[in-house]
Symmetry: C2
Subunit: 484 residues, 2 copies
Amino acid sequence: MLKVKALAIDTLRENVLVLSRECTALRPQRLTGSRKVEVRAGGLVLFANIVIADDDDLVGPDEAGLTMPLFRRLGVAPGSDVDIAPARPPASLDAVRGKIHGATLSQGQLNAIVGDVVSHAYSDMEVAAFLIACASFMTPEETLAMTQSMIASGSRLSWNRALVVDKHCIGGIPGNRTSLIVAPIVAAHGLLFPKTSSRAITSPAGTADTMEVLARVDLNEDEMRSVVDRCGGCIVWGGKVDLSPADDVLISVERPLGVDTPEQMVASILSKKAAAGSTHLLIDLPVGPSAKVRDTAQALRLRKLFEFVGGRLGLTLEIAITDGGQPIGRGVGPVLEARDVRAVLENSADAPDDLKEKSILLAARILEFDPGLAGGRGAARARELLESGAAAKKMDQIIEAQGPAPCAPELGSLTYEVAARTSGWIEGVDCARIGRVARLAGASTDIGAGIRYGSASRSIGFMASTQPTSASRARRPTRIRDFG
Amino acid sequence: MLKVKALAIDTLRENVLVLSRECTALRPQRLTGSRKVEVRAGGLVLFANIVIADDDDLVGPDEAGLTMPLFRRLGVAPGSDVDIAPARPPASLDAVRGKIHGATLSQGQLNAIVGDVVSHAYSDMEVAAFLIACASFMTPEETLAMTQSMIASGSRLSWNRALVVDKHCIGGIPGNRTSLIVAPIVAAHGLLFPKTSSRAITSPAGTADTMEVLARVDLNEDEMRSVVDRCGGCIVWGGKVDLSPADDVLISVERPLGVDTPEQMVASILSKKAAAGSTHLLIDLPVGPSAKVRDTAQALRLRKLFEFVGGRLGLTLEIAITDGGQPIGRGVGPVLEARDVRAVLENSADAPDDLKEKSILLAARILEFDPGLAGGRGAARARELLESGAAAKKMDQIIEAQGPAPCAPELGSLTYEVAARTSGWIEGVDCARIGRVARLAGASTDIGAGIRYGSASRSIGFMASTQPTSASRARRPTRIRDFG
């Protein structure tokens, strides 16, 4: 038994426990092979990695130094008792080793692995081992079983409606903030659209980050239900609703590794959406040379896998293969993207056309899930709801219901202007680099940071050949601005 | 520029940098995707993971808190200047991603990966991703290239002799401390045997741990050379000689994952031995139901791979496939094993026969590398050198040259006796569990901890069938002791 000491050290996602080298509970230097211990207090067992302190002022021999994430997750008072023991390797690692050696995993094995991942029994390297073993091959049946394990790992929302719609983009296209326009259009039509979204991890803004410029997004399940009851839709951050928590752990390892296989993408997206209680789902799958999906053949394979797993889960899926050749809208970064969204919803003269037209296209396909709408009427209905101001009114209602934004939507004050050196046509835009520049400028942590394209052109143009094929695909930018 | 502050926190193998949340050099919370930074001081660049401090007494905004391994590796004075910048992901990760997707890696790609691994540019999860991608398949040519990259990653010793012998056991058999008997036999014969060995990682004792009961083992390269010049052999810890440092990093991730593929085993062992300057190498490959290699077919495949890679490296290899069905000797743990070694070298009446006979068998095969020794004479020569006391005399000379052991070889004073409940034959011994029990008792960190088999029998017997097949394979133990 050791006494809890809270340490003002933030180890981010990782549970870290600081023990004295002279610790009375166990000799920390004995744990040479693995640094993992079990921390028990108040009926809760958490896994943590230890580091050793040689300074009694930091952590004494009878103290357990809990870094911030561990202290928060354990929820105990400083000075209270905590039990520490070497952690046994999780039994499910045997199945991971089997997978490494070429086995196909059963539903039971995947349940065990996902359960241990969620309880932080796996170290980052063990999660990586599992993901990479799955990356070498995973059958469609395994992908389905994995998705089901992930759904079962957290809460599952139920809306008691036959038609609950949602949309999701696989990501990678800066400024592609269509959800904030599609959701109010669809909700204004009367379909239930309870949207949970994510914050940026490696992109310059997530849907939740951009929505947070306009409204509060960290709603819990009860608050979310109350907004959906009142408005028929919402756009909240999924982090407080505990949907497919396994996905959050897996993504936190996949992202830094830069590994994003079709199987993991399908399991990740469909587990979140099924857990959120969707029945009908539109997936936006942008294809382009610097997008996540590089060519149509790859897009079609991915689509088949989405359809297989989604179908077995009982979801009705639409897959929209869209143009991912260039960024969308005029700004990249939460505040700049929120401005683009506002301009489209308010039908401003300077609203970015590409964002507007793509949003109408996607909203149309969701609206056509409505059996009451005549086939082929989706696009006209979406345009009508947007241009009449009905969507803007619905958005205002949702914003009011979710509550005020936590901070003022101010743009960064430090700017740097990059002008093209000569006139000409832009032949290509690297979406990944645009995203990286915006991140280096501070997005999404600094909501006012990002990139804004020059106002004399409507967007950075992109075309596949050296000659413009149509006026809409080749525009000349005058300036690119960078708010740092 | 930040000021170095040394923190009395031992993060074991990992470089960890503690920065204030208000750090003047960079906003640590911006590094959400990766926690990795470059730390520059005095011409050296090291990679480290950051954690965030919210306590100015621990680390102030203008300070860089260096935990012990980082402080030691950087070699700077407290208060001196250090430069911190976000680390870019190592370029070689692209090749790792290629491997994940099924590519075969070139020598150049493997050189880049191994170089980045050695400079700690890879996180544990990135190392795991590389290892698991390689575990799914690796061609013999890739294994060779990997071995060559690993050799090039550190120092390479050269002895200016046509015949430099060495031996290595792939491990897994408790008490299998033959090197400490084989080395003095072979050196007494006159062959050069500059043995570098490892400390225990997941076993209850490594050769270096057991030798350290008898002599100093942490010799640097110059000291090692001087011992070899005087004695014709040595038994030192390899940790100060910088041989295949990539191997140390890879092993530190392989071991907790419990992943040990033939390819990684071959690259690990042969890179260490080639870097140590061996020309002729004997590999002890124990086969048994609880050993690393479970059956003869597996042993033969492993042997082929050793022969392919070793041959291309210009090494002369002998592979001894030995009985790995039971522990060897009478004790497990550094002090207990050192007693067994002493008893064999001194031809004591209570010397464990199995350890003696196996050592003679292995020494014989090494002696036959000597072109001056008539074929088939190895075993008799080895027995002669051992039983005449020549080997013991050589061992004393080596011990004297290496210097005195750092601490007294005392056995643990807390003992627990486990007696068999009935008389009978022991049908099987699980080597992995014996190792685990000895580790739980405290071996190898507590050198006096471990397991001793009862003195009324010569060892724990093992046999494959329920009836004894020979007197030597079925002995009745009276007691198993456990020193904690």
